[in-house]
């Protein structure tokens, strides 16, 4: 799975936000706030087509956290992305 195209991550002040552009802006009228981990997950899925397990592996490589915490964070992130239809369903 990967994040659909036409989303950009920007920083406003000390907030990290995801903003839709082009055809996604016509579909989704809002913004999404992310923390640093969310930013890493988002940017990773923008660049690569990964399974949930592969994504968890990327996080474990980068951060010193428990596998249980990573699984929880990744699941929570993916749930929010699915809710807002940010994931490219063709690749699920």
């Amino acid at each position: 799975m990967r994040i659909k195209s036409h989303y950009v991550i920007k920083e406003i002040g000390n907030q990290i936000v995801v903003v839709p552009i082009e055809k996604e802006a016509m579909r989704f009228n809002g913004i999404i706030s992310l923390n640093q981990t969310g930013k890493f997950l988002f940017e990773t899925l923008q660049k690569e087509d990964l399974s949930k397990e592969e994504l968890m592996h990327k996080v474990l490589e980068r951060y010193e956290v428990s596998k249980a915490q990573v699984e929880k964070d990744v699941e929570s992130f993916l749930e929010k992305c699915m809710e807002k239809a940010l994931i490219d369903e063709d690749n699920l």
């Binding site: 950009v8 406003i12 009228n29 809002g30």
Partner: protein, 294 residues
């Protein structure tokens, strides 16, 4: 009808068909000549409109097809039954040339469509020029300039009416979509000929003292916002650009507006005293409160 307009430093060569909504309010923005850097905004009416573009289809939903080429974009809007085209907007991506074609069959609603669609495209021009169109009522009272912001049906017009009922010296900049811009770390609101269904606007530039996001409540109150809330509220209440190129501009403008404009949640009630309460807040007359401005 044909007018040259100056809205702050946005110049428009405006060709339109109906005076119903623009009436005399547009006179305040008229100038005799245009400089070189202007935007052409034309409206025409046709008996039959066809979607015969050969450009690439970028997006479609039930009633809208959007096409683009290297330099232009075309928005084709259909009727709900998809049997006819209501209007087509074609524009260059730099917004220098905009042409709106309305279907004659829109009949009695032609003037309204013209007003809404030209307003939409004007706001696109404004965004491309680093202005921030806010869904808000902008007005001044007693030396204070404030914006009441909120989406449609949030009570913005009602609260504005309460201010009109209460204060004789109320000066309305724009009752629906003022443009914000920053200069020397100060935020300003300006009017334009496009100002909602009641068409109340003035060709004025005023320094903004505070921005209130209204919230229907049981009791009156004004509350500070976190940075995250400010960004969310502002973003919900602006006309957002479609292109990544303009997103960078607008996010930087939002960043500066958040830094330099005091923002609050205003819990309002459905009574005139909402207006008095908020004015007293601006004056710093609530307990333990300092004035918002000098």
């Amino acid at each position: 009808m044909h007018r040259y307009l100056k809205i702050h430093d946005i110049y428009i060569d405006f060709n339109y068909q109906f005076n119903d909504f623009f009436s005399s309010a547009i006179n305040a923005y008229e100038i005799p000549h245009l400089p070189k850097n202007y935007h052409q905004l034309n409206v025409s009416i046709k008996d039959h409109i066809y979607d015969d573009t050969t450009d690439q289809l970028l997006y479609q939903n039930k009633t809208r097809h959007i096409y683009e080429s290297k330099t232009t974009r075309t928005i084709v809007t259909y009727t709900n039954d998809h049997q006819d085209i209501k209007h087509i907007i074609t524009y260059t991506k730099d917004y220098k040339h905009i042409h709106i074609i309305l279907n004659q069959k829109l009949g009695q609603r032609l003037a309204e469509y013209e007003y809404v669609l030209t307003g939409f495209m004007f706001m696109e021009i404004a965004v491309s020029r680093n202005y921030l169109p806010m869904h808000a009522s902008a007005f001044s009272i007693g030396g204070h300039t404030m914006l009441l912001s909120g989406p449609s049906k949030s009570g913005k017009s009602t609260q504005t009416r309460f201010f009109k009922n209460t204060f004789d010296d109320m000066f309305i900049i724009n009752e629906d979509k003022p443009l914000l811009f920053l200069k020397d770390d100060q935020c300003y609101a300006i009017g334009s000929p496009w100002s909602g269904k009641d068409v109340i606007n003035n060709n004025a530039v005023k320094e903004v003292d505070a921005l209130f996001f209204i919230n229907q409540a049981d009791t009156l109150g004004v509350y500070p916002l976190t940075d995250k809330e400010k960004i969310t509220h502002v973003f919900k209440n602006i006309q957002k650009p479609l292109y990544e190129h303009f997103i960078n501009h607008i996010l930087e403008t939002i960043n500066q507006v958040i830094k330099h404009v005091k923002m609050y949640r205003f819990d309002c009630i459905n009574e005139d005293r909402s207006a008095t309460y908020l004015y007293q807040f601006m004056e710093g007359r609530h307990e333990n409160q300092k004035p918002l401005c000098n």
